[in-house]
């Protein structure tokens, strides 16, 4: 009986010093548009730019940790020399890191921190900070409107999602003790907008439609559901609603004033930083400069690149989203959003 006799059978030895090579990009889900429409293209473009002969192996785990494990194995079988892993589940991804270690393949923990494991680098936005940013924006807005003693509704993300927990913790650290009363708080299974809608409807019913001064929604999808619920219940004017991800639909709502804010995580720099790091590791170089922090993941201090999330409201859509090319003006300003665009000076 021998334990895990690993003959480095999967991974090609990193000693191979060709210019080309394989980098695996493993993303967690496809139900949120950011991964397929931003992370992946930006990452792939940057890799091509830095290393024309490199190949990117891309997989998406559709929110299933064991599927991601299979995909990791597939990538290693395929001869990936660097893993850029955005884990479905931050804690249980340790097994995949261990598997990569056996094949002597370095792992970059992308966007979400893989806890209790020997990862090489970490690139992300600070997720707890995202929650703080949302909470702060809501609180500031309510203060400005003089409603900072009112009742709010909190709609969190999926109860099975570890990130949702971080957003929740961040938001609570601001909102608790701020004088705002939490009238109702929900977790939203699967981050489902439909569920968020029903939860909001029930919150409106149980609290009364004039009582709610603000809504904390963890992302743009749930915000959309909450807004639809309030519209249907005849809540007018709509209270400020937070969001996250700067989805196209979210930005559009922000522009027409239905949603107060969204959190823009500039995915392009994040993806590009990951690409640069991955290519450097592929070539056996030690990346310098970019690393700006160390984050403890329970096992070690992981050298990290942390990027700042940005709070986006109607005022700064142009200077952030449009300026970065995250969404093009014509994408945002399609059809009925023309007027709103004009008033925000977006063409």
């Amino acid at each position: 009986k021998r334990e895990n006799k690993e003959a480095a059978a999967g991974g090609t030895p990193p000693a191979e010093k060709r210019s080309g090579g394989k980098i695996a990009l493993l993303l967690p889900e496809s139900k949120t548009s950011r991964y397929e429409s931003h992370d992946r293209p930006h990452f792939e473009r940057k890799v091509k730019e830095l290393c024309p002969d490199c190949e990117v192996i891309y997989s998406n785990a559709d929110q299933d940790a064991s599927k991601q494990q299979s995909q990791t194995e597939a990538a290693l079988t395929n001869g990936a020399q660097v893993l850029v892993l955005d884990p479905v589940d931050s804690a249980s991804a340790a097994a995949m890191v261990a598997r990569a270690r056996q094949s002597k393949v370095p792992v970059i923990s992308y966007d979400r921190l893989i806890t209790n494991s020997d990862v090489d680098y970490y690139i992300s936005f600070d997720n707890e900070k995202v929650g703080k940013l949302q909470g702060q924006a809501l609180l500031d807005k309510l203060k400005a409107d003089g409603k900072d003693k009112g009742t709010i509704v909190i709609i969190n993300g999926a109860p099975t999602d570890n990130n949702a927990k971080l957003f929740k913790a961040g938001a609570h650290s601001i909102l608790d003790g701020s004088g705002l009363v939490v009238g109702a708080e929900y977790d939203t299974p699967d981050w489902s907008p439909d569920k968020a809608q029903q939860q909001m409807e029930q919150a409106v019913t149980s609290l009364g439609k004039d009582k709610i001064v603000g809504v904390y929604a963890a992302n743009d999808g749930t915000a959309g559901g909450a807004i639809a619920a309030m519209k249907a219940a005849g809540v007018n004017p709509l209270p400020p609603v937070t969001g996250q991800d700067a989805e196209l639909a979210g930005i559009q709502r922000v522009l027409v004033g239905e949603q107060y804010m969204t959190v823009y995580k500039a995915i392009k720099p994040e993806a590009e930083a990951a690409a640069e790091l991955a290519v450097a590791l592929l070539r056996g170089q030690v990346p310098e400069g970019k690393v700006n922090a160390k984050v403890n993941n329970g096992q070690k201090d992981v050298p990290s690149i942390l990027l700042p999330p940005v709070s986006v409201t109607k005022e700064n859509v142009k200077s952030t989203i449009v300026a970065d090319g995250f969404w093009k003006a014509e994408e945002i300003c399609s059809g009925s959003y023309k007027d709103a665009c004009a008033s925000a000076q977006i063409q």
Binding site: E201, A203, G221, A249, G250
Partner: protein, 412 residues
């Protein structure tokens, strides 16, 4: 009047137990049927009342007009999908793709309307047509290659989900703005119109029932006692009036409720009173016997799956109209399981040949009420899951227990 006509051709079988005349006879007949488990939807309705009572005690806003209107709006999409599932269950088959089809159809509609700028009506029709085409494809595939519907629609569940991701492409969520499409779930009719609709339904129903009675009498066929017809009508029409009274207290009669109610009613008429419906029951009861009777079993199956998927598409469109958006997770999650559970809780058999379109309405009300009530109480996620499971189990058990007498008496 309540005694069988004297003209009738066949002597009444002496073994047939007849209810005594008068109100007392009716009550005794009711008790007898109760003990034999012949209650139809009564147990589900009682279960629903218990659920409502419990939530009402926990939070008295549960039975407010606004919440009941919300409840109605919350169940229309799932209920419409469930009505399609009822059809498929009548055949003894299952449709696992209903959720995915609802999502894909809504995505197609959104794409055409928002991104490609087509009008509301063509987009809507295209959405429905997507559903119909998928259903026809499933039906043809399973009849042509004799693959069990379970497998075909399971493949569909995966495939159409992929297609939905593909259609929504990179942008992800699409907001709906078109007033017509949004209006599907967002329009409420004034009391005057609502009551007109009610009056129309009641008058037509009463008229047809009595015309039919007259015809049977003329043909010398035995008649159901008049009083039980009247009692039944008083209850159903009473429920209708009560519902509309509640709606008019809040925002008015929701168009979505009208659509859902209309779909269920039409479906019930279709399966209960037409050749096609009769053949559907026959195929569900004994497909081989139906085949030998010259019924084109394959054609029935294809039509049923087409109808069911079209209804799933309609449900998806209603959901999108209510959410004001379509996204990648539209139609996924528990949409499918809820729709199936609703049909089954409402009393449609999973084994084919037994059921009614009303079960979609009743079942959707039960499931919708549970989730509505628990959101009103804002319980934590884990508790919500557990309570939903428990209530489902108890509701189904009450129903099953009440049928027990019948099983003991029945053949199997």
């Amino acid at each position: 009047m309540s005694a069988p006509s004297t003209q009738q051709a066949m002597a009444v079988d002496p073994r047939l137990i007849q209810d005594a005349p008068g109100l007392k006879g009716a009550w005794q007949g009711f008790l007898r049927r109760l003990s034999q488990g012949e209650l139809g939807s009564l147990p589900v309705i009682i279960g629903l009342c218990v659920i409502w009572l419990i939530f009402y005690i926990a939070n008295d806003r549960f039975l407010s007009a606004v919440n009941l209107t919300n409840l109605m709006l919350q169940i229309t999409a799932m209920g419409t999908i469930s009505a399609g599932i009822v059809l498929v269950l009548l055949l003894g088959d299952i449709d696992l793709s209903a959720g995915a089809v609802s999502g894909l159809s809504a995505a197609v509609m959104a794409l055409l309307n928002v991104k490609m700028g087509y009008g509301a009506v063509p987009s809507l029709l295209a959405g429905l047509a997507t559903g119909a085409a998928i259903g026809a494809f499933h039906g043809l595939w399973m009849t042509r290659f004799r693959v069990p519907p379970f497998v075909v629609t399971l493949a569909g569940l995966l495939g159409w989900q992929g297609a939905q991701l593909f259609v929504l492409g990179n942008t992800g969520t699409v907001n709906l703005n078109d007033s017509f499409i949004i209006g599907l779930a967002g329009t409420f009719f004034e009391p005057a119109i609502a009551w007109l609709v009610v009056a129309l339904i009641v008058v037509v129903h009463v008229a047809t029932v009595f015309v039919e009675r007259r015809r049977r009498e003329a043909a010398g066929l035995p008649l159901v006692p008049l009083r039980s017809t009247v009692v039944r009508m008083v209850f159903t029409h009473g429920a209708l009036v009560a519902a509309v009274a509640v709606f008019t207290q809040d925002r008015g009669l929701p168009l979505a409720a009208l659509i859902f109610g209309g779909v269920v009613l039409l479906l019930e008429l279709l399966i209960r009173h037409t050749r096609f419906g009769r053949h559907t029951f026959a195929v569900g009861g004994n497909a081989e016997a139906a085949r030998r009777a010259g019924i084109r079993v394959d054609r029935i199956r294809v039509t049923i799956f087409t109808l069911a998927s079209t209804m799933a598409a309609a449900g998806g469109i209603l959901a999108a109209s209510r959410l004001l958006a379509v996204n990648q997770s539209s139609g996924s999650g528990d949409v499918l399981l809820n729709a199936i559970a609703a049909a089954v809780i409402g009393g449609t058999s999973l084994f084919g040949g037994r059921g009614s379109a009303w079960s979609a309405l009743l079942g959707a009300l039960v499931i919708g009420s549970i989730s509505n009530g628990m959101d009103l109480l804002a319980l934590s996620s884990s508790v919500k899951f557990m309570v939903t499971g428990a209530v489902l189990l108890v509701a189904a058990s009450i129903d099953a227990l009440s049928r027990r007498g019948r099983q003991a008496a029945g053949r199997a």
